[in-house]
């Protein structure tokens, strides 16, 4: 769940705070906690009951067309998302004077080595250790100059939106929603539950684990929004500020150490997400094509399993190094692919969780269906609106 705060997410939260300050998005992020939990808990239950990954379930239960659709979309979206992770890693490491070439190659080598040479439990522990650095944003909150905690508390009552509801606001809502529920998260969590060997006896522990992860995800997200709100909000051209400018503002108002710690958090966010996303690509390919699929498999025995994830890392790590690569356009494409794919991924998840033939007594309870369908409905409406704003940018002013 911590990998949910990936590099793209950190940049999204920072831009959210810089554009909208302390207001609507603070309570909005709190609502993201149950949203993330409800969605991810379903994948835990599905994986624990069926001992099969998401890609395999879609392929076998709903046929080759939907299986191939889900797989192709996932792999394409994963590669594009990995590019944003490598953007975060290279940008963050540049703060420490490390050139992008070195940081990109090192990141690819580290991530590939972790996957190839460690068994699942060691891989998981290393990943959790890296993920712990995500919490680095939280203590930084207490060094924000002139932070009015009263204003933070009032935001839960007022839900204030500076500038009102317009196309920028809708875009930022969707960006935050999109970074909370991403397609790769569904596939990753279910596959990792299977690879870890969780069974129906572990569902309760899995639910607690998911809740803890969701909780910290939201705490960190709010911390990043507050940091940006306290240092950048009110700047002219705030909507157009990039992460480098935000880092400079943090340095100017909170000091160089705070900026470096923020940059370190950005690197960590990119790294942990790249670990999870590359693993999800490998698992999904293995599930779809019936290959042996586990991080416990030795590299030579499971080369088919490891290869897709490593190739995706190489592609992403290489693209960020291309001079004048249209990274902004690529980031937009990530959003667009996620827009198309997420409702479909959620729909399959709900179909499977309501399938008594495969879930038995562990099917969704009515409250889970109501809340999940509400999330899907909101997602589809907002994604539809987002699609319209991409095509017609001034439709809402």
């Amino acid at each position: 769940m911590i990998a949910d705060n990936d590099a793209g997410g950190v940049m999204t939260y920072a831009q959210t705070g810089s554009i909208f300050g302390i207001g609507f998005f603070i309570p909005f992020m709190v609502i993201m906690l149950p949203v993330a939990y409800i969605v991810q808990e379903m994948t835990v239950r599905l994986g624990a009951v069926t001992h099969r990954g998401h890609a395999e379930m879609i392929w076998k239960r709903y046929g080759k067309f939907w299986g191939a659709f889900s797989l192709i979309d996932l792999v394409v979206a994963n590669v594009l998302t990995l590019i944003t992770e490598f953007i975060g890693i290279t940008l963050g490491m540049q703060v420490f004077g490390i050139p992008p070439l070195v940081s990109s190659i090192t990141a690819v080598a580290v991530i590939a080595s972790i996957q190839l040479f460690l068994r699942y439990f060691a891989w998981e522990w290393i990943s959790l250790s890296i993920a712990a650095f995500n919490l680095i944003f939280v203590p930084l909150v207490f060094f924000i100059p002139h932070l009015h905690w009263g204003a933070v508390a009032r935001s839960f009552v007022s839900w204030h939106i500076p500038g009102g509801v317009n196309s920028l606001f809708i875009y930022v809502v969707l960006a935050n929603l999109g970074t909370t529920i991403a397609p790769w998260m569904l596939f990753f969590q279910q596959s990792s539950v299977v690879d870890k060997g969780l069974t129906v006896k572990d569902i309760r522990d899995g639910q607690i684990d998911t809740f803890i992860g969701s909780f910290f995800m939201v705490v960190v997200a709010i911390a990043i929004i507050l940091i940006a709100a306290g240092t950048v909000f009110g700047f002219t051209h705030a909507p157009n500020l990039d992460i480098q400018t935000i880092l400079s503002a943090i340095s100017a108002k909170m000091g160089s150490l705070a900026m470096r710690l923020f940059a370190l958090g950005l690197v960590e966010a990119g790294l942990i997400a790249a670990i999870a996303i590359s693993a999800s690509t490998s698992w999904a390919m293995g599930e779809a094509f019936g290959w042996p699929k586990s991080i416990n498999i030795p590299p030579l025995q499971g080369w088919k399993f490891y290869l897709p994830g490593i190739i995706s890392l190489l592609i992403a790590g290489g693209i960020v190094l291309i001079p004048n690569a249209p990274l902004g356009f690529l980031n937009l494409t990530v959003q667009v692919v996620a827009t198309i794919f997420m409702p479909a991924a959620m729909m399959f998840l709900l179909l499977l969780l309501n399938d008594k033939d495969i879930m038995g007594e562990h099917v969704n309870k009515p409250w889970q269906n109501i809340s999940a369908f509400a999330i899907v409905g909101f997602l589809i409406i907002m994604n539809g609106i987002y699609g319209l704003t991409v095509i017609f940018p001034h439709i809402f002013g």
Binding site: K201, I340, A344, L388
Partner: protein
């Protein structure tokens, strides 16, 4: 972390899983093949909605990308 163990030793995960499931006294769902779902009723409606939704989104995307200069 037993790095040499993972690199050099061949593993049979299916056998390990079967042994584990037997010990836990659980049903081995891997032995029950997943059959193709019968798509009818609300499931069929959901699939048709999905097809329409995806088609609409693809059309919007094509229009949008064609406007990017």
């Amino acid at each position: 972390m037993k790095i040499e163990d993972k690199v050099s030793k061949k593993v049979n995960l299916d056998e390990d899983w079967e042994d584990f499931i037997k010990e836990e006294g659980l049903v081995d769902y891997n032995k029950i093949p997943v059959e193709r779902a019968v798509v009818k009723g609300w499931v069929q409606i959901a699939f048709w909605f999905l097809r329409i939704y995806i088609l609409a989104m693809i059309i919007l995307v094509i229009i949008g990308f064609s406007r990017i200069h």
